[in-house]
Symmetry: C2
Subunit: 258 residues, 2 copies
């Protein structure tokens, strides 16, 4: 058994996989002040000067018994993955439902066949936050979020989600085109949203667990994804309206089982 | 017959009632450039200097045969009702469904008993625009929008609505507390949204035409409105989420007949 197979290593890796890292002084301060969040570690750059908000952050962490790790500016940039905006401060938040999709797939589809919602090219943090909030509140299983082509989970997204980012299932993948075939192999069927030649949402009665894929408002889903899709559903619209905001569409789908 | 009863006066008044006034140089320029909008009149302050965007606005109006009216700075402020931000420019857009609620009530409830959605204390223009877009696209009759306590229809709202402000029914009133009794008299029943002791939305099967009232996210509906309400419905939420964005709630209700 080598080191990467040991139970301790796997348990530690699994815990790390469920951390969401947030950076920036004000966002980290607000997160530390929110006692409902389970914070794993605070990361500070050695180069931070004392005083001001950095001192307040340290004192909040001390009150809450949160481990503080000190790093060089370069090491901190590797943790935040955004050296331009991290301001020498980052923290890891534990989020039980935030996980690599392969991990979740081991347990899916669950007996109740709840749908998943996947995003393709949603770059607006405000929309992503609203989508996470609605899906987390809905009867759907959760969100499949690619790192390629979608907004990252940033302080803006957390704010727009009203803190729900840490409450529901968010499955991560690198590329949606690569992750979807693994779901299809497990018995899922992919359904895209479309205004052309689509089944009205209310009439769509799937026989298998579904992953709905939402594309961005101007371009829709990419060709690669359309090729993997078995179903097309649409939301009929009145008064000549051509499209809905993507966060509205996500909510209508996530709650459509109601 | 005095002047205010003449058929000409009434026809003119009715046409004026259906105008939405937008102000500010860039918003007016963008509206004039959108050929799908029916523009009634362009208003300019005498004090505008020639050149730049004002010249482009004038030239667009001339191309489209839109009447240009010149006013003193004070007269223009009365038209825009926002002298601080009008920049000496305003225009009136014709919108067939934008009307005083009393006008609409003459024809309501319509045979199909479509619901109305009323807003109480929605001050965020982004939310108002998204709500208008969703309701206009939905099977609901339209929106009841009070001038007291809600955002005005501004350039920001029009943008967030993706131009749908001019497509659906928007009934205006001054105060919701004063307008709702007129709807109740016509056979409507008022339904508020609530997370406490509420009927789940999916189980709510109204026997009369309904006006759903949505309050703002922090305070909910006001007491006056709650007193007029006959029904309370709620949207059950998973994962301990406490509330949805108000634009999401509006969409789920407007499309709930689906």
């Amino acid at each position: 058994m080598n080191q990467t197979d040991s139970p301790e290593y796997l348990a530690r890796k699994s815990a790390y996989d469920r951390l969401i890292t947030v950076y920036g002084r004000k966002p980290v301060y607000e997160i530390l002040a929110d006692r409902s969040l389970e914070i794993f570690r605070l990361h500070l750059a050695d180069s931070n000067r004392g005083g001001g908000i950095v001192e307040q952050i340290k004192s909040l962490a001390a009150q809450r018994n949160i481990e503080i790790c000190y790093h060089s500016r370069e090491q901190l940039a590797r943790i935040s993955r955004n050296s331009k905006q991290d301001q020498g401060v980052a923290c890891d938040i534990h989020s039980a439902g935030y996980q690599p999709y392969k991990k979740a797939l081991e347990k899916l589809p669950s007996a109740d066949q709840r749908p998943l919602i996947a995003l393709d090219g949603i770059t607006n943090p405000q929309n992503l936050g609203m989508i996470i909030r609605s899906i987390t509140a809905s009867p759907a299983y959760g969100l499949l979020l690619p790192s390629k082509g979608c907004a990252d989970i940033s302080a803006l997204v957390i704010k727009a989600s009203a803190g729900t980012v840490f409450k529901g299932n968010i499955l991560r993948c690198e590329s949606l085109a690569k992750a979807l075939p693994a779901f299809i192999e497990k018995g899922f069927e992919v359904c895209t949203l479309s205004s052309h030649q689509a089944t009205p949402l209310a009439e769509f009665k799937p026989q298998a667990p579904i992953i709905y894929v939402l594309g961005n408002e101007t371009e829709g889903v990419s060709k690669e994804i359309a090729a993997l899709s078995k179903h097309r559903v649409g939301i009929p619209m009145a008064n000549g309206v051509e499209s809905l905001n993507v966060a509205i569409t996500a909510a209508l789908i996530a709650f459509s089982g109601l």
